[in-house]
């Protein structure tokens, strides 16, 4: 019995080390969101800004407006898709800025001792101890609404998240024997970073990217919800939620549509992040489980 069970069990174990349910579901949902984003022009022929005062407050399921309409008769499906585009592009851009600055400065600090490292570490600690949301609110409120203010504010305030992890990981990688012997063999600092340190950072960075994307998306919609992020009237999930507050009695679906959008996007990112984390944990642990 044991003889038969063993290979099967080990095959399942081998499979489990390469696949995780979270990751599969996450990638499927992510693919769906990406498809919605790319196919947007063909998915709705309504103008997200087009008001239609004869068809205000149509509930979901109305012919022609399957998600219903808002207080100005605008089609909620078209607006949700436009919001998807805004949320995705702002969150991706903010994450990218954060990743680039964070990785660069983290690696720099890991490699250079002395003043550079002290400065980078002090900035990491300082920005991390900023009361994030309050500073973001102040900066965006003072700077003004729009795509770049919000993307830059979020990116420039959140890079220490990446820098801290990159610094710690790179520092420990640089002390490994194979890296030190590469240095002894005459490899340049830059080559070592590219060939030995960056590949070692990849798993951590991938997990962090997914979670960071989720938190950027939440922050962006929160700022828009407060009326500080996206330009007023722009069809974004945060703005749609803000508008729905006055209509909760009249049209609860006005709140539910953007809420669902935010939750689906965040859960997708969390699934992918958790899935990658679970996989690398399983692969690192090996036979133990």
């Amino acid at each position: 019995m044991a003889d038969q069970a063993m290979p099967r069990a080990s095959r399942i174990a081998a499979l489990r080390s390469r696949i995780s349910t979270e990751l599969v579901v996450g990638i499927l949902m992510g693919g769906l969101l990406a498809a919605l984003l790319l196919l947007r022009p063909w998915l709705s022929d309504h103008d997200p800004m087009g008001t239609d005062l004869l068809n205000r407050y149509q509930p979901p399921g109305t012919p022609g407006h399957w998600l219903g309409t808002d207080q100005l008769g605008r089609d909620l499906w078209a607006r949700a898709l436009a919001g998807l585009e805004w949320s995705m592009t702002t969150a991706i851009m903010a994450t990218a800025i954060s990743l680039m600055i964070g990785t660069l400065l983290g690696l720099l600090a890991a490699q250079r001792e002395g003043v550079v490292r002290t400065l980078v570490r002090q900035s990491i600690d300082t920005i991390l101890s900023f009361p994030g949301l309050i500073v973001a609110i102040c900066v965006v409120a003072l700077w003004g609404q729009g795509y770049w203010p919000i993307v830059l504010t979020l990116g420039l305030l959140s890079w220490p998240v990446f820098a801290r992890v990159c610094f710690a990981e790179a520092l420990s990688l640089l002390q490994r024997e194979y890296v030190q012997s590469a240095a002894l063999a005459g490899m340049s600092r830059f080559q070592i970073l590219i060939q030995h340190v960056l590949p070692g950072l990849r798993p951590v960075l991938m997990v962090m990217l997914a979670f960071h994307f989720a938190s950027m998306l939440i922050s962006e919609s929160a700022l828009s919800f407060l009326g500080l992020g996206a330009p007023l009237g722009e069809p974004t999930w945060g703005n749609m939620l803000a508008a729905s507050r006055a209509e909760l009695f009249e049209a609860p679906w006005m709140m539910l549509v953007p809420a669902a959008g935010i939750v689906i996007a965040v859960v997708t990112a969390n699934l992918i992040g958790d899935g990658i984390a679970a996989l690398s944990r399983r692969q690192g642990k090996g036979i133990d489980v």
Binding site: T118, C138, L142, R245
Partner: protein, 330 residues
């Protein structure tokens, strides 16, 4: 043995080279705090000109140039930006945070009057979060592979993806609009407190549940638990005496972080529920560019967050015997 001593020595020497001033931990904290305040205040001062002229906002649309000049002189806005900045630091050194441009009240006094509401909400939210997370997390982690718990784990995973302000709107929709059980906004009576507390807790609890569950299930696999089992300890005993203390220790850091987050993270919840805390004040004063009050809010919250983080670190060191004699963590 030898290698680890070597490593410790290298680490000590790099640490020495890195800190041009070798400061004891308390002073290092103080330095961090000063750098934090400096960066925060400078950042806000640099950004202020982007927002427009506070004098024009104060005076209104149809102000005469004379009125504008009078306002500028009254609030010291006619000085150069740099002089205003220097003067701000001078006043700050005397604990003077300036007066509000809106109502001429001392800025910090106004902020401090709104602090109790924020603290009340934060304490209620964190207590609720712990009260929910502790039993649920332990239940989940005790036997994570049981079917009911797997389903619950997925529900909690999805809940983790619901931002607090989205949850707040859903709660209002259900309990205030549809069922009419609870008021949607306000602060005066205890029934006003339920929805904001739940909105914040619903955002924090899934995270804590997952950490506690992971810690408990990890602790259940540890050698000492296996030994205790072999000696015939009952599951309840194992849970209480061995698994939970370790799980809670791991959760302390997260609870501290969450409490610190609540100081600034409740801004949106406060403004949704018209909760007269600091976040609500911030949203009110940011429209009128009441710079002294905004600045005072940012400073006070930064101080609170700093204090909470320091206390969390401290309690972590006190609670965990493994860290007590360990080297300081820079």
């Amino acid at each position: 043995m030898n290698a680890s001593a070597d490593k410790a020595a290298t680490r000590a020497s790099t640490a020495g080279r890195e800190n041009w001033l070798l400061l004891p931990p308390v002073l290092r904290r103080l330095r961090d705090l000063l750098v934090l305040l400096f960066a925060l205040i400078t950042l806000l001062f640099l950004l202020l000109p982007l927002a427009g002229d506070p004098a024009e906002i104060l005076a209104g649309m149809d102000a005469t140039p004379d009125q504008l000049a009078a306002i500028r002189e009254k609030y010291g806005l006619d000085d150069s930006r740099f002089n205003q900045y220097l003067r701000y630091w001078g006043n700050l050194a005397q604990l003077d945070f300036g007066t509000s441009l809106v109502d001429d009240q001392p800025a910090m006094g106004t902020v401090l009057r709104h602090l109790p509401a924020t603290l009340l909400l934060a304490v209620m939210a964190i207590v609720t979060t712990i009260a929910i997370s502790l039993p649920v997390g332990t239940w989940l982690g005790f036997r994570p592979e049981a079917p009911a718990r797997r389903v619950s784990a997925w529900v909690i995973f999805v809940m983790q993806g619901i931002p607090g302000f989205v949850f707040a709107l859903i709660l209002i929709q259900i309990f205030a609009v549809s069922l009419k059980w609870l008021p949607a906004i306000g602060f005066a009576r205890p029934e006003n407190w339920i929805l904001p507390t739940l909105a914040l807790a619903s955002f924090l609890a899934p995270n804590l549940v997952r950490v506690i569950a992971a810690n408990v299930s990890e602790a259940m696999r540890e050698d000492y638990v296996r030994t205790a089992k072999a000696f015939g300890a009952s599951p309840v005993e194992i849970l209480w005496r061995h698994a939970l203390p370790n799980a809670l220790l791991g959760a302390t850091a997260l609870i501290g972080t969450q409490f610190a987050f609540l100081m600034s993270g409740s801004v949106i919840i406060e403004s949704i529920f018209a909760w007269p805390g600091i976040g609500w004040l911030l949203m009110e004063r940011i429209q009128s560019l009441d710079f002294p009050v905004i600045q005072a809010i940012a400073i006070l919250i930064a101080l609170l967050v700093f204090a909470i983080n320091t206390l969390t670190d401290l309690s972590f060191h006190l609670l965990d015997p493994r860290l007590r004699r360990g080297a300081s963590h820079g």
